[in-house]
Symmetry: C2
Subunit: 412 residues, 2 copies
């Protein structure tokens, strides 16, 4: 079961002015489940995105990047689950384009909407052709139930093997006016048959310049979606999209102003909660771990150490067993590949307990202290490198029987 | 159970002239098991070693490197199991030195043997003080049963959580004379409580110059111990040692001669079998996988791709389930980090079956073909990058319930 995570309630996900959401049960892979989502954006909405670095990226990822680069105003997003349209070659690109064209046509009422004003997303099985006709057939249903308070339905419509849906809202006041931020996400690893993908969509009714929004998404993603790992595998379809409709009535926010920082911090907070929710609902997760690496030479080396710890199957299984296995953590620090690391001049903490220093177990440490920390569902591992001023933080989950079960036994 | 691996029989491990082996039951961690081994080398033996790159390396590793660098002739190796003497700070170094001094003194009969003519090794629990007095107390027993045909006992004496002992011999003819090579190894990952370490010892009665032996060990390790991975964790104590006694009566081999190549290939073959045996006996292993990456720009990028595949928990669990999960393998190739990889211009094979090309599933491929390959206990995954002339090969095992069990449930 997810670690300290339950599905949001409908009323906790606040409408964002200028955003309407509609879904369909289009039978993409399984009957009787929401599997197509349209997010319709009011005119003038600014959109920014970051995408997987996997070189086997899916056709819709390639098309999203192309449409964003073209600079035409984005008027809608369309997401299907059940099929990732990845590893599908040229036909995959044609299918993603066809989806955009169909939605653009349906949205062309009075003002023409073009295909490159649509962003497409797919998640699900990879290496199988997208049943594009079923996606397209579902679009009218999506448009017929477009509503601004459909966020919970939207969160459910993008789920694949997630156990619970994921969504958060936050409001802040800028220029005396209320600004709303609402986001949804889905995880939870790449599972069978290749249910690829981490997706995140965060919308606000703030007005913000395109340049400032691009800056904001870099800031937010580096502190949220780029800090989580379930199994170290990067999917073919990972995407995070920020949308700013400008409907709140505040004046347009420029980068590096006080208003920018307020919005940036609030959107980063929502993105962080969405990203952490993916880890909390990681495959087979029973523990939520925060790995904090401090006082390194630069952020990069701090992240190297944090990921070495977060990806070690030995450490992840020890956390599953609530075992304060210091040796495995020290060994991971040792093989993280840092230049001339002085292992005798660092400290390792479990929660608040100093467990290792001077290259070995701390003198005052007793195993019962470590065991008490490890018994909790939320665990902080803190490494102090004592060789610089940089810090980094990574969130991950443990490695349980259920991880193997989910990933190996799906046929049974 | 180990994959296609059983323990050697005593008579298959051939004595190597100039090498005597003796063991003791010294009660290092558990009673009634061989846990100290001495390998005594005749005068004039050449020794070369390669060691873990983990910066948290154990005290005996540091001391081995120091003794080898000092250049004094190595006269004996001493190995204890049950305690890795790692993460033990200054006291650990003193304990390793004390072990060497004690053995040197016992071996000083007529000719004085110095402490820096001994190489010490430890494997077992880390972060606990070495019970050095018990190690030292076991040394007379080791010397009292020194024998040249004690290789099987030696292979058993270095086991920790290995299920079977590991040893191979090979004979070749050089200059009309028979040259013998015998080696032993132990694995099998870093398991509780931190049974660290991969150890390999390969001896020959060939005569070879120190320079040629150093060259040979680099060649051999890059094709054997550096090509295996169980869980991606590098231990604090990994070591491989080559020993050449020169007692076979052949003249001294120099680098880059025909005799060098014969010896090199034979020793590499033994080292490869020893390394593969560690994977076959990997924690919870049910499959033995060979990952071959061909036609890359350089060996480094081929290894990057091979390790991305070999370390992916998603792929390892799919192999456990005998599931030809192509998407996971393609995704791993995609995130391996290769510069401008053209995913549309590569092929993926399972065994002899072409399963993917042109960025997706191969046209003629049917899942039943892949499933047939995956049902075997030995599986070849072959990636052809089509962008250069370099190749690399990695061996690994799958990821089963038992891996989690071994690493999480040891307390029960």
């Amino acid at each position: 079961m997810p670690v300290n995570l339950s599905a949001p309630q409908a009323h906790t996900l606040l409408p964002v002015k200028g955003v309407e959401l509609g879904f369909a049960e289009a039978n993409i892979r399984k009957p009787n489940r929401k599997d197509v989502l349209v997010i319709k954006l009011s005119e003038g909405t600014r959109v920014a995105g970051v995408f997987t670095k996997n070189q086997f990226c899916a056709a819709p990822v390639t098309l999203c990047k192309k449409h964003l680069a073209a600079g035409a105003e984005i008027r809608a997003l369309v997401v299907n689950t059940g099929n990732a349209n990845a590893g599908t070659g040229e036909q995959g690109m044609l299918d993603a384009e066809k989806t955009c064209q169909a939605l653009a046509q349906l949205l062309s009422q009075g003002v023409e909407v073009k295909a490159n004003q649509i962003l497409p997303f797919s998640t699900g099985v990879i290496l199988e052709p997208l049943p594009v006709d079923r996606v397209v057939a579902g679009l009218p249903d999506c448009l017929s139930n477009l509503k601004s308070d459909n966020w919970l339905n939207a969160a459910e419509a993008i789920m694949t093997t997630d156990i619970v849906s994921k969504g958060y809202s936050k409001q802040i006041v800028i220029d005396g006016k209320t600004v709303t931020i609402t986001g949804i996400s889905k995880g939870s690893g790449m599972i069978h048959p290749n249910m690829a993908t981490m997706l995140g969509y965060v919308a606000t009714d703030a007005a913000i310049s395109q340049a400032a929004l691009e800056k904001l998404i870099d800031y937010a993603v580096n502190r949220s979606f780029n800090c989580i790992t379930v199994d170290g595998d990067t999917s073919t379809n990972d995407s995070l999209i920020l949308m700013a409709t400008g409907q709140s009535g505040i004046s347009e926010i420029q980068a590096d102003t006080a208003a920018y920082e307020s919005l940036r911090d609030a959107m980063t907070e929502v993105a962080t909660l969405l990203a952490q929710a993916i880890v909390r609902d990681g495959e087979g997760a029973t523990k939520f771990m925060t790995i904090k690496v401090e006082a390194g030479r630069d952020v990069e080396e701090c992240r190297q150490v944090a990921y070495a710890i977060a990806h070690s199957p030995l450490i992840k299984t020890a956390f599953f067993a609530s075992d304060p296995n210091l040796g495995r953590i020290l060994a991971a620090i040792g093989y993280a590949g840092l230049d001339r690391l002085d292992v005798n001049n660092m400290q390792l903490y479990l929660g608040d307990v100093l467990v290792a220093e001077h290259g070995g177990r701390a003198q005052a440490y007793e195993e019962a202290q470590g065991a008490a920390v490890m018994a909790e569902p939320e665990i902080l591992v803190r490494v102090v490198l004592n060789r610089g001023l940089a810090n980094a933080m990574v969130w991950t989950c443990d490695f349980s029987y259920d991880y193997v079960k989910i990933n190996a036994d799906y046929r049974s």
